[in-house]
């Protein structure tokens, strides 16, 4: 069978909606269009029932104790904002210190930066070369003023999975709340809010084959009961934590997507890992100077983030334009700075510029893996042939010894 182009290998950015999800959503646009907050008639009851069923399904996926612990939002950006700002505001009399990591998503980092401006103190923990936070560092950073620790489950660029369970032990012991941006990892790697002592968790539907613009925040209701100050004022929906009429079709889709993940996520992970390793081994055996960024062991099965030395990431993406991937190169961003995540790992700037993120997912096929690896190998060779750095490397020149004229 001929390969269909372009090929999507950017599943960390978003995912297509599973057809089974769409099917379940459709009636909620017109037949069952009620407002879930309408308490006085059947249209409203039907919508509310559907929303609560989704809560249950999503709760199950992360092993929440009760479906009431799921608050619906517009996505994980909002969930992260509400979780961090909401907790900071509610517990401000208890303390003003927050711990997070330097490789968090911007929705966490920029939220923390804003809180710093308001007088909170934030500790940004570094990560090792493996892209993981050391729980010992969390332990050392905890003070009597610490009210919240926010560490992501899995990183969106390098796919590294954080030791949430170990961190959860520490925070629980100290009576500090633990929030996790679980967007990239939920359904893909083990995540159990009870076992891991997670108190708040952000998730979003569009990274798990559900629709965009729908997210959730898990807020623990017992041992401890987590309180937060709402950041959106209005009709008092979602038990006062997030006002606004619920996106019922989106939430129905989110629930179905969670249900599919619950049933098929594990098997899917095994399949993705097989394909990821096939891709990695092919690239590694045909090309020299290829570096995997971050731990291979503690990693999302569908993630491969590699640097092809001497080749710039954006030029690479242009050369394989029939394959949708992403890069940590500065040339793809407006900022002219390479990825802060790769920098945090201690990957040199030149290798950060050379990074490509492959994100595999539900509809990735073995044929696509073979096509992409052959294409990438061919194009890396092509671009290296026109790279002055590769020529210097081949001539045995140490690139670090050259006096570069930075501009």
């Amino acid at each position: 069978m001929a390969i269909k182009l372009p090929i999507f290998m950017d599943y960390h950015s978003t995912t297509p909606v599973d057809p089974r999800v769409i099917e379940e959503m459709l009636p909620y646009f017109n037949e069952k269009f009620g407002n879930a907050a309408s308490r006085s008639h059947a249209f409203g009851w039907t919508a509310e029932e559907a929303v609560d069923y989704s809560r249950e399904r999503i709760g199950k996926l992360i092993n929440a104790q009760s479906e009431k612990e799921i608050v619906f939002t517009s996505g994980a950006t909002e969930s992260n904002n509400v979780a961090i700002k909401g907790v900071a505001e509610f517990y401000k009399d208890k303390g003003n210190h927050i711990i997070t990591s330097v490789i968090e998503h911007k929705a966490v980092l920029d939220t923390c930066k804003r809180l710093e401006k308001e007088g909170y103190e934030v500790t940004y923990l570094g990560v090792g070369k493996d892209g993981r936070v050391d729980p010992d560092d969390v332990k050392k950073a905890l003070t009597d003023k610490t009210i919240l620790v926010s560490i992501m489950l899995a990183n969106n660029e390098i796919g590294t999975v954080q030791p949430i369970e170990e961190i959860g032990k520490l925070t629980r012991e100290r009576g500090v709340l633990l929030h996790s941006d679980a967007v990239q990892g939920v359904g893909k790697v083990p995540f159990d809010v009870q076992k891991m002592n997670v108190d708040l968790a952000s998730i979003t539907a569009h990274k798990m084959y559900g629709p965009k613009g729908v997210g959730g925040l898990y807020v623990r209701r017992s041992k401890p009961r987590v309180r937060l100050v709402a950041q959106m004022d209005g009709g008092g929906h979602e038990r006062g934590m997030r006002s606004g009429t619920l996106n019922v079709p989106g939430i129905v889709g989110f629930g179905k997507a969670a249900d599919i993940m619950m049933k098929e996520g594990k098997e899917e992970g095994v399949r993705l890992l097989g394909m990821r390793e096939r891709l990695r081994k092919k690239l590694d055996s045909s090309l020299e100077e290829v570096f995997v960024n971050g731990s291979l062991e503690h990693r999302l099965p569908g993630n491969l983030n590699v640097s092809f030395a001497f080749v710039e990431g954006e030029a690479m993406m242009m050369a394989i334009k029939d394959v949708a991937v992403s890069s940590g190169s500065a040339c793809t961003s407006a900022s002219l700075e390479p990825s802060y995540v790769l920098r945090a790992l201690g990957v040199g700037d030149e290798l950060a510029h050379s990074s490509i993120r492959f994100g595999l997912g539900r509809y990735t096929t073995e044929e696509e893996i073979d096509f992409v690896s052959d294409l990438v190998i061919d194009k890396v060779k092509h671009l290296r042939n026109m790279s002055p750095l590769y020529e210097m490397y081949k001539d045995g020149i140490d690139l670090k010894s050259v006096q570069w004229v930075a501009h």
Binding site: F310, V311, E312, E314, A315, M318, A319, S329, A330, C331, A334, L336, P338, G348, D349, E350, H353, N385, M386, S387, P388, L389, Y390, E391, L399, W404, V405, A406, H407
Partner: protein, 129 residues
């Protein structure tokens, strides 16, 4: 970002990729940029006795626009007198390739590479005399 057709053409079929003998006294080599900035350009010219650029070659580590800028630069300077080549401005490259604002520095690098290759050639000539 969408690329202009000309950038795509140069990036996919770069002209004059290669290496000239940098020990040759008639060859000038310019190496500009830095790996840590994500862009390095090497542009070389071979100049005849009457001051005409007979050959030009480049190698670039950088984005598609940087590759296209250097490819275009070699194409333009070939057959030109050194002084004419020296007068090429990065804005000429921006216009020809339709570069968006974020890619202007790629064209600046190409202009720097031309100037740096010429300077190297002149330094060699001066040393000879």
């Amino acid at each position: 970002m969408a690329y202009s057709d000309k950038v795509i053409d140069h990036a996919e079929n770069p002209r004059n990729v290669g290496t000239l003998d940098k020990e040759d006294p008639t060859v000038g080599t310019g190496l500009v940029g830095a790996p840590a900035c994500g862009d390095v350009m090497r542009l070389q010219i071979k100049v005849s006795d009457d001051g005409v650029i007979q050959d030009a070659k480049f190698k670039t580590f950088g984005c598609g626009s940087a590759i296209a800028s250097s490819s275009l630069a070699t194409e333009w300077i070939k057959g030109k007198k050194v002084e004419e080549a020296e007068a090429i401005k990065n804005s000429d490259i921006v216009n020809e390739l339709n570069l968006p604002p974020v890619k202007i520095h790629c064209s600046v690098l190409a202009e720097d590479a031309i100037k740096s290759a010429i300077a190297d050639y002149r330094a060699k000539q001066a040393a000879k005399r």
